[in-house]
Structures are given as structure tokens and as C-alpha cells.
Symmetry: C3
Subunit: 334 residues, 3 copies
């Protein structure tokens, strides 16, 4: 099990440091930012050992038997919730799904009261999604030491399990990260996925990260993360090995940030034509669900360059890996 | 395991043929239409072996352990969803419930994207309900070969598991199908249940099928299915052995198709009085939930001729049987 | 296993008598009223044996393996439903969650039809919550002998599992019941929790039960239950060993029963200052979720006298105990 050194830990920003226990092992998975390369690699390696499970007759291992996993979703997402539910059940955990919008937070109880109440029921792992950046950090900082938290998306901040399944898919299809040119395309401004992807790609050492989108949807400070920025799609795609599309929220389409769906598609929608600018062997990724004809054409989404369904398959193994990695620490198995 | 011959397969309509794999075994259960008698009998026989389970101390068998069943309900139905959930859990499967109305189909993703995404998570069996006729066929035709689909009701088209539990109940109470006179009563026009019942009864060889209801609620082409039609309740019930009531949707009660609830009950509501026209030993069936005082009186629904609760009990065993039959093919156990 | 004698049974009111089978064992848990002291003590003792489970690596026992528990909630309550779901899963039962408001009761089927339908699926235990007093009694009286019912709150009538976890917590923190002075504070009028607490405290033999609240929120007949009533908070708290706060429903805050939130807090909100009137070692309880700044201050809720989170933890063990006690009778294990 990879661990972070005291030296490394001392240099981490507080929101990264909280993820490690005092021996340097990962206890929460809230952000990729600050997690050392070896820890990321180990998550990918462990995921690989879970990959064959999906094809076995009996898709279960007893690693989390008798453990209780709570899916605490303050923001609805059936798809993401399902991936965590499946991952936990295949590890033999008991799963409680809470649509927390309907819960007692609406009755004057704070989110922390809700979480502490659930923890008092001896739950072991919280998977948290919230529309507020920092929600899972807040929760993690108020729980006792043996309880784990996974960030399943918080505001515009981070979506680290999505980024890890993306990294798994890149390594699976490209053999590694060295020398790769990667483009992230779309609404960077509102995207927690993009932030986590950039941290992961940088840590794992790709050659170049390009960010492509309309100026209105690219945050001004993004170049400080070590990426190249362009609003020119063809220029940005040139020689790219990995094309990472982002989902465009239709609520951005009100004319303020994006002129119209048609114009957005014309300029930034990924088509067979535009894809020719990329490397011959480029792969196309998307976190899903896709907006056909908005950020991606159907022929690309369903085409031979697309690895979108592989991402979904890999997502189960990667989430099993992250859960097993975090929970390993409670079993004295290290 | 019963199988269909190449000869039989060649003569099936396409929506029936898709249900069989290339060796002639059932792989989906979408419609009764075209399924040969032996396959239906085998489903009933297998269900019989599951009947004692409900009364055992431990109501579980490990037949589907490690398999993932997805209840994909685009149309809400807590009752039907619960029967499939219980059947799957008693076979030891993991069950994911998806109320797909709340899912990503509302975000611009197509139903097929949703299904393919779920399939990429290595799910094994989809139980599909949709308000559109043909939805489960569409889904089945786009899935890889090893994934199974059960139609839990699609539009006005079919509800084959309901029809099979009805057949089980008839055989249980009457000893077989030969020589039986069966009446199906109510809103035939909108009823997927009636269509599946007629196919099943005809295949299993009852003596006579009568369809009873107001002219406005009987489709014109129904006689082509080999049934007798009447709008006269007493005439239709004469000498009948099995009375199959249909549920009347209250939204039909707007005066266009049915004059009023009271008048409907007077003419077609099943009462003790009207039931006297049927055979002395006639049984009364209803798919539930019942509308007391609309299509059936409380005294008949709760009376000694009623087998409505037996239908519910049998429904679990029949659904276990269908799931086990379809999944059997993935285990090389044939 | 404690049992009630024929003599005791003959003297019980009907709604208490229905809870016992003909050998005098508990089969339902609907109300504390009329349950003999020994039976309550045994539930607490059994709960104690489940307390260590929450801290074990594998938090499961196979006591209810293969049994089906239905959470039948006609009134939404994510928190309470979760406690029963967790308790049942840790006993290895299969759990079906039904939000019955969305169910067929809205389609003209009666509650009893719904329950009988579920029972016909061979379910073993119903956990029922309803806004109508007596709902779980009604259901219990219409089910066959081998099916069990737990009341998870019915109207203003009873919430016996909440009262039992409160009793467990008192015994845990105070060593027993003898000699204790207990205050129940808040909206007694609408509280099913208060009624069950009073029955339990009286049966288990505390020294004194005081009821504190505005006159408008105290039912006139309450003194007949053997309690002292006061509207003076400081007087009521004097020398108290156990402070049991009730949750104030914000919908009572319309000015008719309570003048304003601020004035309610000033008079009846539990603060550090008011708590000084109680015994030095007094404990503070609340069924949750708490309204901070309405019936209790944050500093008391989070303070060292508060045992609110212990109540939550104990609630799982107590509900496991009650489920195991009721189901024990179906296994011939007595």
C-alpha cells in the first residue's frame, strides 16, 4: 500500500492533507490535488485486479462484507449513485441510499447533524455528492477517524473518482501516460470533472494538457494549473492523443455564456471532420450522459475512436478499488 | 430445458423470434406470442419447484448469486417492481432499482444510451416497464447476446409475466387447461394484460376464450385472435370456468369511453349476482390493484371464488422461474 | 423469553392484547401500554447483546437470513426508515422499502388490500408508519398469525421503538430506573413519542415523571397517566436526572398554539442556563432531528450532558432486538 511521507504531507495544502491518516495512508478520497503519483498508480493497479470480476459468473468479493456504505446525495444523480451502489455491492457491503434533499436537512437540522446521526449508526463509508464546493471536505473533517469519505462531486471543485476512471481508461488504451498530448474540451468554467482531470494528468505525467472552449467558459486562472488554453478547436485538436469531452449543461444555453446550441455545436461539437485534426489513433472520452448533437455528434460517440462505454465499465472497477483502498486501513491489513 | 426448433423459429414474427438464442432457447421474455407450448409449460413447472420457497425458513436459493438485475421502470409501478425485486433477491441476485423518469433520459440522453451505459456496468438482466409499446423489444435488440430482458409491461402491447402467473393460477386451481371456458372482462382496448392472456390461453389450449366489455373498450380486430366477443355480461359469463377481470383505469372514466362509474359497475362490475351465471366452481381472477365497487364488488373480491391473493403468491414463483430460465443459458447449465 | 400470563393477558386492553400470541409471547410491537416489565427488560437485555456488533469488523448476524422485512411508510421519514433498514440488514434480512404514498392506495385500493398483497408475497415482518393513529393495529389485526408488525409511529398514538431506545439509553447512562426523576419537555399534545415514553417509564418504575410545556400543548387528560404537569420550565427541571426534549414541529408555529419561535425558545428552549436547575449529572435526550435554537440550544445539544448520538447508536441495537424477539417466535426457538 502506497503511503505519503511526513515530508510530503507537510507540504500539502490543508484540503489535500486531510485525506491521509497519520501514517500517510489514504483515508478519504476528496481531491486528486496533492495525492502523490504512487498512490494514484496503486489505485489503478488495484482496479485492474477487479476488472475481471464483471465478467465472472459470480461478480462478488467479500472484502467489505458487514460494512455499511451510505450514498449521501444532496444533488440527484441516478447514474453516478448507481455506479457506487454496484461497486459497493460487488464488494459485499450493505448499501443505504439517501436522497438527502428529502431528508431532515429540510427540517432545520444541519448537514453535519445528518452526517453525525448516520455515523452514530456505525456506518463505515460515506459517498457524498453536493452542489456546494467543499461539502465532502466539511463532512470528512467532522467525522471520527475510522470513517471514510469519497467525494462523488462537489460543486465546481472536484470529481476525483471520475478523473481516476478516466486515467484508468487512458492507461488501458494507450499503455501509459508518457508522451501523451491530451485535450479537455467544453465548459471548463463550471466543470469539477475538468479540474480533477487536470490534476490527475499532471501528476501522472502526460506531455501536454490543452484546454479548449469558448472564452466565456474558461476560467481566467486556469493557465496556472500548467495547461495551454485555446478557443480554436482545430488548433487545439492538432496531434492530440486523447480527446476528453465535457458535458455541457443545457442550463448554460441561455445566451449569456453560449450564443446557441447550434453555434456551440458548430464550433466545439466533436464531429468526424474535426476529429481528423487529432492523431490517427486518438481516443474520444466523455463522462456521460452525452448530449448528442450538442457537444458530440452521434457518429463520433458511437464510432470506433469512442471509449465512452469502456469508461463506464472501468468506473465500477476503479470505484471498487478506491473503496477497498480506503477501507483497507480499518482492517489492519496493511 | 425446452427449446424451439429451427423450423418453428423460421415461422415466428420478428418480435417473437428475438426472444430465442440461436440454439432455440429462450433468452428474453417479451411477449407470449410465438412462444411454443412446451416452453410455457416448462416455465410453469419450474415455478412449481419455487412455490415451497415462500414458506421455508430461509426463502433464498443461490441461483443468481453475484448477478445484477436492474429494474428499469420508465413508468412507475411500486407493486410490480416489488414482485420482481423480491423474486430476484430470493434468487440471491443484487438488485438495482431505477426510476428512469428521474434519470438521464431527461437530460438529452436516449433510452438506448441509458441501457448501454447500464450494460457496460456488467448488469445481467433488465426488467423493463415503459408506457410505449415495443420498448423492451427495442432494448433487447440493442444489447449484447449474454444480457437478458424481461418485459414488465409495455404500453398496450404485452405483460407476459402477468399472463404466466395467471396461467399458473389456472392450472393450480383447475388442474389444467383442457376443456376450460375463460372470460376476460373489462377494458380490453387499453389492456396489455388481456393481449398476453389471450396468447397464453390459446397456446395452452383452453376450450373457449370470451371477451366481454363495452363496445367502446373492445378493439375491432380482436376476433382475429380467436376469441368470441360480447357486450352482454350475463350471456358472456354463462358456464364460464375462469373469470379474468381487468383493472379499469379511472382516467378512462371521463365520459367518452364509459358513461359513468356507477353505470359501468351496473353493467360490467362483477357481483355475486352476476357470478351465478358462471359455472358453480368458477374462479375469479384480477391482476390488481382492484377498484372495489368499480369493476368488482368487495364481496366477490374477498369471497371464496376469488383467487386474487393466490395470483400474488404465484407471481413471485413464476417470476423466479422466468428469471432462472433466461439466466440458465448464461451458465452453460443446459 | 419473557411471556405474559393468561391472567395478565385477560386484563389487557384490546390494543395491547393483540400484541401477544396465545402462549403469551410478543408477536407484534405496537404500543408499550400493557407490555409487562419483564418483556421490556428482556428487549433491553437482548439489545445489549447486539451493541458490540456495530463495532465489529463484520456487522452482521444471520438471525433473519432469508426473511423479508417490508418498510411500509405511509408518512415519509428517511431517518427512521434508515434505522429499521440498517437493523434488518444487520440481521441479514432482505429489505423492501415502500413509500406507500406513491403506491396503489392512491389508485383506489385500500391500505388493507396493499398489506394483504404484500403478505401474499410471503413477507415476514412489516414496519409501519402512518399519520393515522391505530394504523399498525389495524394492519396487525388483519394479517395471518405468523406475520409480525412493528409500529414505527402512528399519528399521535405511539412510537414504541423510540421509547425503548430511550429506555436503553437511560439504563446505559444511569444504571437503572429506580429513584430517577424524569422530565418530558415540549409539545406533549401532538407527540406519540411522549405517550410511549410515559408508558415505558411508568412500567420500568422511575420515581417521578414530569411533563413540561405551554398549556396549549399539554393534553388535559395527561395527569391520568400518573405524571406531574407544569408550565414553568425552571420549576419542572428542578433536581431532574433525565431531560427528554421533544421535537417541535414548525407547522405548530402558526401563532395559534405557540406565540413565536423566539418566545418559545425563551420559555422552553433548553439552554445551559436552564439546565443548571437540573441535577448535576442530568443527561439530555432528544429523538432527533433537532431544531437548533428552537427547542434546544446548540451548546446543550453538542455539550457533555447530551446523549443524543448515543440514542441513535442504541436505536439500531434496540430495533435489532425487537425484530429478533418478534421473529424468534416463528422459528420454534423458544
Amino acid at each position: 500500500m502506497a503511503r505519503i511521507s511526513n515530508e510530503q504531507l507537510a507540504h500539502l495544502p490543508p484540503d489535500a492533507a486531510i485525506q491521509f491518516d497519520d501514517r500517510g495512508y489514504l483515508r478519504h478520497f476528496l481531491t486528486i490535488n496533492g495525492v502523490p503519483r504512487e498512490a494514484l498508480i496503486q489505485i489503478l493497479d488495484t482496479a485492474e485486479s477487479f476488472m475481471t470480476f464483471g465478467e465472472r459468473e459470480i461478480k462478488k468479493v467479500p472484502l467489505l462484507r458487514g460494512k455499511t456504505v451510505v450514498n449521501l446525495f444532496f444533488e440527484a444523480s441516478t447514474r453516478t449513485r448507481t455506479t457506487f451502489e454496484l461497486a459497493a455491492k460487488r464488494l459485499s457491503a450493505d448499501v443505504i441510499n439517501m436522497n438527502a434533499a428529502r431528508m431532515s436537512t429540510s427540517k432545520g437540522e444541519t448537514i453535519l447533524d445528518t452526517v453525525k446521526t448516520l455515523e452514530a449508526m456505525h456506518t463505515d463509508l460515506f459517498v457524498v455528492r453536493d452542489s456546494a464546493s467543499g461539502a465532502s471536505h466539511l463532512i470528512a473533517s467532522h467525522l471520527p477517524e475510522h470513517v471514510r469519505v469519497i467525494n462523488a462531486g462537489d460543486g465546481r471543485h472536484a470529481h476525483p473518482t471520475q478523473a481516476m476512471l478516466d486515467m484508468y481508461t487512458i492507461r488501458q488504451k494507450k499503455g501509459g501516460f508518457e508522451g501523451l498530448k491530451v485535450a479537455i474540451i467544453g465548459d471548463i468554467l463550471h466543470s469539477r470533472v475538468a479540474r480533477s482531470q487536470i490534476h490527475a494528468l499532471a501528476t501522472l505525467g502526460v506531455d501536454e494538457i490543452r484546454v479548449i472552449g469558448p472564452r466565456t467558459l474558461i476560467p481566467t486562472e486556469i493557465e496556472a494549473m500548467g495547461v495551454t488554453v485555446t478557443s480554436n478547436m482545430m488548433e487545439g485538436l492538432s496531434d492530440i492523443d486523447v480527446v476528453m469531452m465535457l458535458r455541457l449543461q443545457r442550463e448554460r444555453m441561455d445566451g449569456q455564456l453560449v450564443p446557441s446550441e447550434q453555434e456551440y455545436f458548430n464550433r466545439y461539437g466533436l464531429t468526424e471532420e474535426k476529429l481528423k485534426a487529432a492523431d490517427n489513433e486518438a481516443i474520444v472520452m466523455h463522462p456521460g450522459p452525452i448530449n448528442r448533437g450538442l457537444e458530440i455528434s452521434s457518429s463520433v460517440a458511437d464510432g470506433e475512436r469512442s471509449v465512452i462505454l469502456s469508461q463506464v465499465t472501468n468506473g465500477i472497477a476503479v470505484r471498487m478499488s478506491i473503496m477497498a483502498t480506503l477501507m483497507g486501513g480499518t482492517e489492519g491489513s496493511r
